[in-house]
Structure formats: structure tokens, C-alpha cells
Symmetry: C2
């Protein structure tokens, strides 16, 4: 080429360099590149070591194969105290995300815990409940420490009914609470008498009714429902309309002509028919059971947990077992309900990112253009989200085929090394809670897991493996 030729420049990193080219009359495409490991030389060295370590690749293959082999099924609906050994006789309340002290919790989580204390009858009202918790007389722990998951505040307390999901092949078992619907609900921090009343109804009427149906249907395989829902516009995190309808079709015939009283059956069916999010909690428990099957493989950099407590985002890897790697949660870009803005929003909250960890939700956006409309964006954005996640995953899951990508299997199995190396963050679809307890959902949007979690996780893995 000659000096006189026009220049077209690709600029990596600092955008200002590219601007100079443009000012001088050249064409410049700036790429948002930054050095892996957020520019920290030690992190880059740890990453290089981890990327070059064949034990990690081997461990990932083992862990990912266990994840793919999982076949989660709904086997029971039980009281949490019967499904979670540590809850028997204990004043234990589980919450979403990594561990966090009562005094550090966000408004919705605090409100939800107080509601749980009232539901359990440990205190007569919310004020009395607050005093009890302030005095340290209620034990608090993450759901994930007890094989559980819960959306938003993620509260599970002893008398609360839970879905029991078993992956017989992998020997794993996960539980989740029952979805309460929208509006003022415990998971968004509401704890008014009507909220507690609904939870009592779920415990005393809904759960026994669904349990009776389940006794007639037998265990319900969840992967086929999730797979079919992906062909019906759900990404099975923020949109569960199809999965809920498919579950409803399985449950309803078992409630007709059985032993369940007609009014209880009718109320249960009306509740399910009116709550398109009902399947979410089952999806979460299924994902948890699938990922737990892959957990604890030494050296594996497979991400088995992503969860948020409303303050911090926490990540666990298969190979680093029970360790959490945390960082402040990223803000949520989304659409707010009329009258609300980002200033009203709590930080990213809930265990529901377990669905993204398993390749659903944001990873499966291509299946759910309606979600993009809800959170802002175009149908093309949805395709690109799903395609981009291929860059940071170990493989793909044929059980989760994406119709709009010609039924290509969905990207699944996040490799923490790839996240750090490629600077691409896992995409998470999320509801947005009001920062104050009890207001409820104020929007929905897309966020990402924070990079620092993955940098710390890779550092830890590299050092454990060195």
C-alpha cells in the first residue's frame, strides 16, 4: 500500500486512540477489548496457567458429561423441614445468594425474612420478628448451603412447602419453594398479612393438593417440559408461560376424579392458571439438581452456581467446591414499570441465575423474543445473546435446542477461564425488585455476572491446582 491510500484501522482497547485516527480523516473501528483478568498481571498469569492445565480440561469434560446426563424429576412436594435435614427443630431461614449478615442485607431480603418469621409463628408480628432476628435468635443461611434455591429473596423456612427434585442418575436432590405469583409477595420483601395468608394457603391447600396430583401422575420428568417450553417462547427463567401451561396439562387431569376435594382442586388449578411464573421455581430446582451432579470434580472450572443476595453476586466452581467468589452485583439494564426508575431498584437479587448457569434464561434468549420486548431490545439481540454465550461455555446441551437458531443446542456449562480470557460476561435475565421491602417487582431486565467473581475463581483454581 502507499502512503496516499485511505486507511481503515481496527483499534483495540482505549477508544481515544481510535478517535485520533477518525480526526485525521481515517476510518476506525474500535473494539471493546481489554486485557484478561481486568489488567492485573497476577490474574493474567493465573489465567494462563489455568488455560494450559490439561487437568482442568479433563475435569471439565467429566463435570460437563455429568451435567448433560442429569434427568431431574419432580418426585415430591414436602414441608421444607422434612426435605432439609438441618431445618428439623431449628429456627433456620434460608435466603438467596452467597452468605450475608442480617445487618448487611437489602430491604427486600430483610422484609422477606421477617415475613418468614411471622409465617413460622416465631413472632406474632413483623416488629416482634425484627427484634428476634436483631437478637440473633433466627439462624440465616444461603439456600445453596442446603441444596435449595429460591427466586429473588429466596426465602425457605421450615413449614414452607418445597418442590423436591431428584436427578436419580446423578444421585442429586434439590428443592425450591413454590412460586407465589406477582404483586405483593414474600420473595420481593412483602410481609403484610395478605402475603402471609397466601403462604398459609399454599402450605395448607395448594401443596397437599399438588402432592395428591403428583401421587397419581408419578414423578414428572422436567427436562422434556423445559425442552418443549424452549420451542414455545420461554427461556424458562423470566418467561415460563409455556412451561407452566405444560405442567398444568400434566397436573389437571390428575386432580379430576381423584380424592382431592373439588374446591381445593379448583382453587389450586385457578392459582396455576393465573400464574405464568409458576414453573420458574421448578426450573430452578431442576437446574440446581443438574449442576450439583457436576459439582465437586477436582480441578474443574465449570461454574455450578451463580447467585445474588441483593448486595453481592456469588459464583462457585465445580473444582473449588463450597467456596464462594463474590463481587458487587452489576446494575440491571431494563424496562421499569410506570412510575419507577433505576433509582428505586434493589441490586440484582435471587438464586434464579441458576437457570443461566445451566444454559437457560439469558443463554436461551433466542428462544424467547417476547422476553426481549419485555426487557428492551430486538429479536436479533436475542439471537446474539445466545450466540455470544457459546464463547464462554464448555459445550452445548442438545436437550435445550433453540428453534430460532435452527434448533442448535443451547450453549451450556460456563467455563470460568473463558469468561476471564474472552472478557465476555454471562448474561442474566432478571426481575427487578424495589429497594424497599414489600413494594414488589418494578421491572425486568438483562444484567451480567460481574467479572471480578470469575477472576477470583480462576485465581483460586490455579493456586489449588499448582
Amino acid at each position: 500500500m502507499n502512503f496516499g491510500d485511505s486507511l481503515t484501522v481496527v483499534n483495540l482497547g482505549v477508544a481515544a486512540f481510535g478517535e485520533n485516527v477518525a480526526t485525521a480523516g481515517g476510518r476506525c473501528v474500535s473494539l471493546a477489548w481489554q486485557p484478561p483478568g481486568q489488567g492485573d498481571p497476577q490474574a493474567a498469569r493465573d489465567l494462563a496457567a489455568a488455560l494450559a492445565d490439561p487437568r482442568i480440561d479433563k475435569a471439565n469434560a467429566t463435570a460437563f458429561a455429568r451435567f448433560l446426563a442429569a434427568r431431574p424429576g419432580l418426585v415430591d412436594i414436602a414441608a421444607a423441614r422434612d426435605a432439609i435435614p438441618a431445618m428439623r427443630g431449628a429456627r433456620l431461614v434460608l435466603h438467596a445468594g452467597p452468605p450475608i449478615a442480617w445487618t448487611d442485607m437489602c430491604g427486600p431480603m430483610r422484609g422477606a425474612i421477617l415475613g418468614a418469621v411471622v409465617l413460622e409463628g416465631w413472632a406474632g408480628d413483623v416488629d416482634a420478628a425484627r427484634k428476634l432476628v436483631d437478637r440473633g435468635q433466627v439462624e440465616l443461611a444461603p439456600c445453596h448451603h442446603h441444596g435449595a434455591v429460591g427466586p429473588m429473596a429466596g426465602i425457605v423456612c421450615p413449614s414452607m412447602p418445597v418442590f423436591v427434585v431428584e436427578n436419580g442418575a446423578g444421585g442429586t436432590r434439590a428443592v425450591s419453594n413454590l412460586n407465589e405469583g406477582l404483586g405483593k409477595v414474600l420473595r420481593f420483601g412483602a410481609n403484610a398479612p395478605a402475603v402471609i395468608e397466601r403462604l398459609r394457603w399454599q402450605r395448607d391447600v395448594l401443596a397437599p393438593t399438588l402432592r395428591a396430583a403428583l401421587a397419581r401422575t408419578g414423578p414428572i420428568e422436567l427436562l422434556p417440559i423445559m425442552a418443549q417450553a424452549l420451542t414455545m417462547g420461554d427461556e424458562v427463567h423470566n418467561r415460563n408461560a409455556a412451561a407452566t401451561a405444560l405442567l398444568f396439562k400434566r397436573i389437571a387431569p390428575a386432580l379430576v376424579g381423584g380424592d382431592v376435594a373439588g374446591d381445593a382442586a379448583a382453587a389450586a388449578l385457578a392459582f396455576l392458571a393465573g400464574n405464568d411464573h409458576f414453573f420458574l421455581n421448578l426450573s430452578m430446582a431442576a437446574c440446581k439438581a443438574m449442576l450439583d451432579a457436576a459439582h465437586g470434580v477436582a480441578h474443574s472450572s465449570l461454574v455450578t452456581v451463580m447467585a445474588r443476595n441483593g448486595v453481592n453476586f456469588g459464583v462457585r466452581l465445580s473444582g473449588t467446591r463450597e467456596r464462594w467468589f463474590e463481587a458487587p452485583a452489576n446494575p440491571i439494564e431494563g424496562l421499569y414499570f410506570p412510575g419507577y426508575s433505576v433509582a428505586d431498584a434493589a441490586a440484582d437479587l435471587g438464586d434464579s441465575a441458576i437457570t443461566e448457569t445451566a444454559g437457560l434464561g439469558g443463554f436461551a434468549m433466542a428462544a424467547a423474543p417476547a422476553i426481549v420486548k419485555f426487557v428492551g431490545g430486538s429479536a436479533d439481540d436475542a439471537l446474539h445473546h445466545s450466540l455470544r454465550m457459546r464463547e464462554i461455555t464448555i459445550g452445548s446441551n442438545p436437550a435445550f435446542a433453540l428453534p430460532a437458531l435452527d434448533f442448535a443446542p443451547g450453549a451450556a456449562g460456563i467455563d470460568a477461564r473463558k469468561v476471564v480470557d474472552r472478557g465476555i460476561l454471562p448474561i442474566i435475565n432478571s426481575g427487578i425488585a424495589h429497594r424497599e421491602a414489600g413494594v414488589g417487582q418494578i421491572g425486568a431486565g438483562v444484567t451480567t455476572a460481574p467479572m471480578a467473581c470469575f477472576v477470583k475463581a480462576v485465581e483460586a483454581l490455579a493456586r489449588e491446582s499448582s
Copy 2:
């Protein structure tokens, strides 16, 4: 340009001209263009007259507005003889498509008519039924002559239950039979005792059960279900999994705790839960009611009926009222079930193209990439099908938004003039019946309405208007 420059040529029409350019070393893009009206000068003059006639544009606007304003609702499930006045006391059997003589009918339609005669008890078995029909002692008429529609053979006989759909605003009313599921069924020409038995069960158990549910739910608005199904992977013709699930959610709670016997309710729900096509017939009746609202507007070139009798494809326009414009049906390009090929296939059959006439089915393929997999093709093909239909429609229907096209309203309201002028044929999704009665469905695919129907229709409209 200079003689020495390289040439890039766009070739219209006969492909051989373009091949010469390529042979001489030039680049050539051949477009599959042909003169409007299939090259017939009189047809081209009629088309030119119709395109220039402002009365037609005005009539189309009126007709299309009536179509858009329609709000079809399921108001009853009744015996056909109670819903179709001409059936009272008559040996009348309705069939799909334009009129056709008994001796000219295809195998599946003949088999289905014989089954209907047995079902009605006019003959004791199929052989006796054939003699009765051969002697002309059973009256045969198109569904469309009696405000009815039926998929495939489209059989409606007096004792058969029908969905009654009313568009209160437009004063129209349409009926359709109840879907029997897949396998050996009357609509594919099967008439063995098990087929008749299922039809009796539908008449004696299913229909009264659904009717009792409908009495409790009240009329069920169909557009919201169809609109929601489009966001859930249905095009509401060949794929009705979501629409059926949504209908199921409406029906099931009304069957619990009501007056219906538990075993009847359980059997009805099990049937619906096991038949993802159940909503098809309701979709067809809804489309018929919507299009009938637009029918009979003088001068309008809006297509209000497309229907196939297994031999011929027939079209009606709003402005030419009860006249049929027919041509031999096009073959169906599709995927065949193992062991079958195009040699086994009956010609395109059924009234279900009423869904395409209303902007669903092939027109809404963008909503249903799973259909493309079923019939052959890619997700991009699905988008292009829906986009191409914009070229031949009067407008679009905001009630039928297509998620994968960023919720653009679906193309709707076929203008026969545009079909002829642009040489673009309406796309139709269709099941494929075996050419012999009783074998059943052997595949599914995509076909097009034949051009000659539209050429004849435009000629007739132009002459009526001249």
C-alpha cells in the same frame, strides 16, 4: 462505462438469456419473473383495470376494516343439526373445499363420507354406506356453503358436535367439527369401527363435558388465545400446541368441582392433554367468522376463502360473493413419515387454509420455527415466508404480532390483484394425507395456492365491475 468494463446483468424471465451472459464471462442474476396473468393478454388487461379501479381499493378498505374489527368467541358446542339449519331432518354431509361430485372425490374424502354415513346410522356398515351414496341418497355439499369449516376431508354430519363461534360485532357465526387427534381418524378418510367409536365418544361424552365447562366459563374469546399462541411457537394452523394448552387452562378449572361426572371430566381432559392439534378446528372457525365479516363487500378483491377438496383448490373473493374460482391443487413440498413418499400423497386437502386466508399458518411462519423443522427448511425461511406475504396483502393485523420480526403485525388480507400482479402465491402449511382412505397422515409440508384461481377471480371481478 466502457466496453472494456466487466458486466453485471439482471435477467428477467427466461433463464436461458442469462446463461448466455454467464457463458460470455459476465455475471448474471436471473430473477424468476413472469408477466402477470400467466402471460394471457386478456388477464393482463383485466388486472390492469382492477388495479386502476378506485372502487376496489375503497371496497378493500371497508372489507379489511371489518376483518380487523372481528372478535370471534366460542359461544357453544352443539349438534351440527342444531347449528346448521339445512341439516335438520336432512341426510346432508358437508365436506372440505369447493363443490365436487361424489365420483370425482379423492380417496380420503370418500372414506370419510362413508364413515359419516355409518356414524349417522343411515347405513349399518361401510359397504352399505357406499351403496347409499352411490345411489345419490346422501346430499353432499361444501362446508363453506353452510358457514362451516373442517380440516382435511372436513366432514360435518348432523349428529356430530360442532364448535359454534360468533363474531358478535360483525354478526357472523361459523362452526367447525371437533379435532379427533392423529392416527387413524375420519378427517384422513379412516372409517374403521374404532374411528366411529371415537366419534361417538366425542358426541356423547366429550362434547357435553366441554359444553358444561363452557357454561361455567362463559364465551371464550379466541383472538387473545391465538395472539398469545403466536408468541409461543404456534402459527395456529399446523402447530397448535400452545393454543391448545391455553384453551386447556381455560377449560380445566371449570371441569373441577362442577356438575360433570368425574370420569367424563377426566377423560375429556386426558383427550385434550393428548392432542396438541385440538385448537386447530377452533382457529379455523375463528378465522371463518373473521373473514365472513369481510365477505360480500361489492368490488372487493379481498380473498375470504381458500379451500381444497383434494382435487381442486378454490378461492372466493369478498366482492364476487358465492362464486368459486378453482384450479388443480399444487403439490405439497414437505417431509414424509418413514415409508411414504410424494407418490402416496393425496392432493392438497381441507378447509384449514382459512387460517392462511386470515394471516395465520404459512403467513405467520415467523412465529413457528418448529414448523419449519417439521416441514423442511430453516428458521430464516420462516421469517422470509412471513415477510414475502406482505407483498400480497392489504394490510397487517396488530392482533397477530410476530415475535421474531420484533412483534411486527402479521401480513393479512390477501388482495387477489396483488397475487396476480406480483406473481407471489399465498403460502399454506398443510398436513399430507395418504391418497387412500384410512391410512391417515403421512407427512406435512408447505404448498401454495395455484395462480389460476386468482387470475380467474380478478378477471371475474374486473368484468363485474366494468
